[in-house]
Assembly symmetry: C2
Homo-oligomer: 384 residues x 2
Amino acid sequence: MYNFTFHNPTKVHFGKDQIKQLAHEIPSDAKILVTYGGGSIKRNGVYDQIAAALIGHSFWEFGGIEPNPTYATLMKALPIIEEHEIDYILAVGGGSVVDGSKYIAAAACYKGEDPWDILAGSGQITQALPLGVVLTLPATGSESNAAAVVTRDQDKLSFVSPHVHPTFAVLDPLTTLTLSERQIGNGVVDAFVHIMEQYLTYPVNAMVQDAFAESLLKILISEGPKALANPQDYDVRANLMWCATVALNGLLGAGVPQDWSTHMIGHELTALHGIDHARTLAIVLPAVMKVRKEQKQEKLLQYAENVWGITDGDADRKIDDAISNTEAFFKQMQMPIRLADVDLGPDSVDAFVAQLEAHGMRKLSERRDMGLNVSRQVLEAALA
Amino acid sequence: MYNFTFHNPTKVHFGKDQIKQLAHEIPSDAKILVTYGGGSIKRNGVYDQIAAALIGHSFWEFGGIEPNPTYATLMKALPIIEEHEIDYILAVGGGSVVDGSKYIAAAACYKGEDPWDILAGSGQITQALPLGVVLTLPATGSESNAAAVVTRDQDKLSFVSPHVHPTFAVLDPLTTLTLSERQIGNGVVDAFVHIMEQYLTYPVNAMVQDAFAESLLKILISEGPKALANPQDYDVRANLMWCATVALNGLLGAGVPQDWSTHMIGHELTALHGIDHARTLAIVLPAVMKVRKEQKQEKLLQYAENVWGITDGDADRKIDDAISNTEAFFKQMQMPIRLADVDLGPDSVDAFVAQLEAHGMRKLSERRDMGLNVSRQVLEAALA
């Protein structure tokens, strides 16, 4: 096991009707900006619960944060924060709303010229407004970690800062019962690939981390399809919701190598073609598994045996079966698994590689040995 | 899954030579009291590492905190704190030192007449000195939770307060290489039973918590004996150390029923006869499993199948085999598993039951249905 520092100060309130905890978590004299996305919270009762919990608090609203939140949209929150002297952000939604709200919380306190510099890498976050979360779409884990992804034009970039680690997060599985099949599939596969990025590398004898990763993968595999088949089953949603949070709260990645090449390549698919984040992961991961079979052999075998229970055949056969099973699972979750499934052909590859180059992604993977030529091989393996 | 709140703000620095992190974690103007136990840290190099990390800091020392730390000993720290205006506690040792230091941190700020009231239940903790930990014996999980156990005469009592949740904990597996076989065995079995108290209850479909508990139990079963056989294996110690911390950092117990009857009964064995805490657990748990077989049947069966991989026989047979395996594992860790093994006979039982009654332990277990008569049955089942 590698040395690590693990620190996750987010307080999680999990379960039915936990939104009422807002009243205790946010100081009564706070001036709150409630941030949200397309407005589904006003139709499904979540907004009403929040308004009821915040009686006696002062709050304003900022809606319209889109999936893959954009700089242009998020920057519109800053004048509202300035005008009303907002000192607390309450993000209500899924990972995009939470990520966007992290950017808003940091940008509101940023002293430099343009807060985009935070994402471009030249700007430092030294403070941020405190941030609470009401999560309505389990997927990204952003509700209890320090990372965020924001898009400007064709740049989809990320930042990490302890200053934007949410103070608290309310996770009520009841709020997830109205998600669409597409949102369910995206959420399950997003969490799945988060785990794989921290697990499918090379072994360092980190037994707790490996066993926890395998546990969560197996739960997603068993419960994901149930959420599609029985969308009103509370227990299924509760287990998926907690799974997705723990998948990226720092516990699995502590003391182990991490990959994230699937994410980096996937981000370019979203940036250039607007493909849902999780769907890009479902397309890229199987190709990474195939192209990086040699480098990841030990962990691929462990994955085959421990997650899929594959016992027949030699190592090569087991690994191939595990990759096939992964693809079948993604398809079961109604995901595309090839570029062809989202109507992209061989002519799309050059642009992705150029984007990776422009974003400094010349050395991806846990070994930093995955150059642009290997990323090209991955994209080609993902074609059809 | 039940509703829960999970909040663990302790920052963990894990790995080789992490003691140097002290320099960054403790404010440079703090007046620190370094608390420790019998003084092994002065012989094994840990004290020297701490002194080196704290160059430039002001610190005083308070040694002599014993296993099952006593009120009488701990109260002696208070005049030192007052005299030197101590404002930071750094606990260096195992669970007893950490627990004792939590009591010191709270007692130093206690406004009532006698801080024992914190344990007796009539005193409230409203503040405590900040507490950091350098852990040298993985076992209790106290380094990243809010609980502590303190003994006065024949009263071994516990308290829980977020104010004593350690700010940070340094876990360097190298510091554990000099532990005795007895300390290794105690640590592994203590962690094992912590997990069982949160797992061996009744199912509430909490898949993450169950799978994590089973993962940790299997790691303790495989790695515990290796620590005895190959005491210089860093990886073995690292996995055990992280296991013991995660075993009681709140993650496994979130959203599930919890038992703790083995601990409550075990505490009386320590209070009356000075038996090592973990050894009392190794004696009591198998008896609890036998006496509470009916109430715990579903989880016992799950334990048999998922932790021990038992597939043969009917439910009853599987459970009996799992209990036998548990006992064999404890024996392999050089533990007593019966009262007879620590030279106690049937005449000891009345006094334990009287102690439980005196301490208000009339309704133990996850169902609060375990009266004094059932605790007596457990003690009788533990005799020989």
